[in-house]
Amino acid sequence: MNNEKDKKLDDLFKKKLEDTDDQIGYREEDWDSLEAMLDKRKKRRAVIYLWPVVTGIAAALLLFLGWWLFKPIEKNSNNLTVSSHVVKSNNSTTNNNPASIATTTTASKQNDVLPAKTHTPAIDSSGSKPANLAINAPAKNSRPINQSPVLIVDKSANPTPAFKSDAAAATNKLKPQSGANLIEATKPATNQLANVVDPTIDKDRNATVAVVTQTPNPPTAPGNRTDENSALKTGKPTEQTISSGEKSQAAMSRLLAGSAAQNNKVSAKTIASFRPRFALNAIGAEDANGAGSFQQAKAGNKAGVFFSAAISRKFSITTGTLYSSTPYAAAYGDYNFPYQFKNDPVSVSANCKMLDIPLNVGYQVYSRGRNTVTLGTGLSSYVMLQQSFNFSYAGYGGTSSSSYTAPNSGSYLFKILNLNATYQRQISSRGGITIQPYLKLPLANVGYGQVKLQTTGVALGVNWNLGSSKP
């Protein structure tokens, strides 16, 4: 009975309230508010779609920078290997005359040539090495043909694209002279070079630049640059080399400044639309360090403090300071010491105490509950505090060693590429713990030994949220 009445009540409402389209008048303001919601959503989606573009550009820029900075360095290390080979075979007597390029034109004996192979730190890192090679090589009476001028040809056949044709010109000049009689060939070959060096003939002068420019200085050694500049003042072509080197250095800094400006723009834009959150991070890290490769990796450690600012839900910027003790070892060929050894060490191990100052951008790829995973990249600057080296020599009576502590050899701004993944677990609203595997790849040679120092490791740390609005 009661059920029936309930049913009747339900039916009354169902019948009258269902499908009563015509009872309700349309209100334009309702559509206006929905349209506003649709527009708002569209704008937000546009911003979201823009992020991958921005990050894509940043990544491409970073890749380009990496490639750009790597290229000359690789070339340099190539030449270095060859030059050290020559030095070894010469088993040298030293002569500190730096201005010998022009004076070696009549060199036909080994001793006459050798003065060009100067052993002062200034000259060794200079761009004139291939020129010296060109003169040295033919003078090597004991060498077979393929290590005479042909050696130069091989090297000069690998110039930077801009100088390719000039270099080829130089090569052509040298080629006919690389004939059978080495002693006879030496003289004309060096004469050719004398012509090349002659500043009065424009075309040839360009050729010299081409040859000389094959070993550009590592951009990281401004100190050496100054020395070299003063030491080589007498050689006009070398001055040209320096100026072209400076041009490329200037171009590089412009590029870096440009990218920095772009980054600033992006972050300024982002900061304008999001309320930033800040966090402080204290970490300790164990890592493996290798010069050139991880084949002879040695364990090092780091400790320091990071400051990070979340500029959006996904993006954060991190900077800080890490004290780093970085031991590494490598074959002598991987180094580029600013002085020449009488006897080349077999291997060199080193320990660098330095400050690592990273500037990284992080993108949160995963966030669930208390766990977040962030992928990061950026550039690190190294400030060297102390560098000690231990040289091992192979002698007749077994191995011997000597050590040397280099003075503070300055800082290397943004020369290391950082790649990392950060797992963060929130313990409380105030903070949490962090585990961060990382890889540091060199964009340039660093340290007194000018090595490509690469590092991989895991950092553990704790983080505090600063001024978090959430309880």
């Binding site: 009747k8 009354l12 409402f13 169902k14 009258k16 309230l17 499908d19 009563t20 929905l34 649709l38």
Partner: protein
């Protein structure tokens, strides 16, 4: 509106064409609003809920299967939007002590001359917890088990709320029938007629199991 015309409109909406969106909105405004009005306190909050529903429609329109009836899909979205709104405003949901209504005598409801607006005003007067269950059970046809799942309450609470909703509605119909009590014609008119609205209210959460 013909089937072809509707599909053309829906395809325009898939392409995010604002004109097609507005036409679809206008076409189904009455239908959507009629659902939202039943769940809401008043027309403004009903419009707010309806717009949330249409936003879902426009942003998920590509997931709609054109071979299925659009009106049913839209109705489901509007009901869900109303339930979401109810859940989001649970803190505001009070239920009333219905002692007074328990022993009311039942009359013949179908015979009474009550308009759409009268009945809507009555439903809107119900506390949200009763109103939602009444809508879902009496008008949409869901079972207490289904309602329990949708509202995150148990089936017993759903039954209890439905019973209380009916009691209240009966009360209101009786009052509407009385000569001095006025009618349920508008949002403004019915407000003073509900004499037991203020006293003896208890928090809704207390009733739920």
């Amino acid at each position: 509106m013909g089937e072809d015309e509707l599909h053309q409109l829906l395809r325009g909406c898939i392409n995010q064409d604002r004109k097609c969106q507005k036409m679809l909105y206008k076409t189904f405004y009455g239908f959507a609003m009629s659902i939202c009005l039943r769940y809401a306190n008043d027309r403004d909050s009903a419009a707010e809920v309806m717009n949330q529903g249409f936003l879902k429609v426009f942003t998920h329109i590509e997931s709609f299967d054109l071979t299925r009836p659009f009106k049913a899909w839209l109705g489901k979205i509007m009901t869900n939007a109303s339930i979401d709104f109810y859940r989001a405003n649970l803190k505001m949901a009070y239920t009333e002590d219905l002692e007074a209504a328990e022993n009311m005598s039942d009359g013949e409801f179908a015979d009474r001359n009550l308009s759409y607006n009268d009945l809507l005003a009555m439903v809107q007067t119900l506390p949200p917890a009763y109103r939602t269950v009444f809508n879902l059970f009496a008008i949409e046809g869901y079972s207490h088990e289904e309602i329990g799942e949708m509202l995150h309450i148990n089936a017993g609470t759903s039954k209890s709320n439905l019973h209380k909703a009916r009691q209240k509605l009966k009360q209101m119909i009786m009052r509407a029938d009385a000569p001095a009590s006025g009618s349920f014609n508008s949002d403004i008119d019915y407000a003073p007629s509900v004499a037991f609205n203020a006293p003896g209210i208890v928090l809704n959460k207390g009733i739920r199991g």
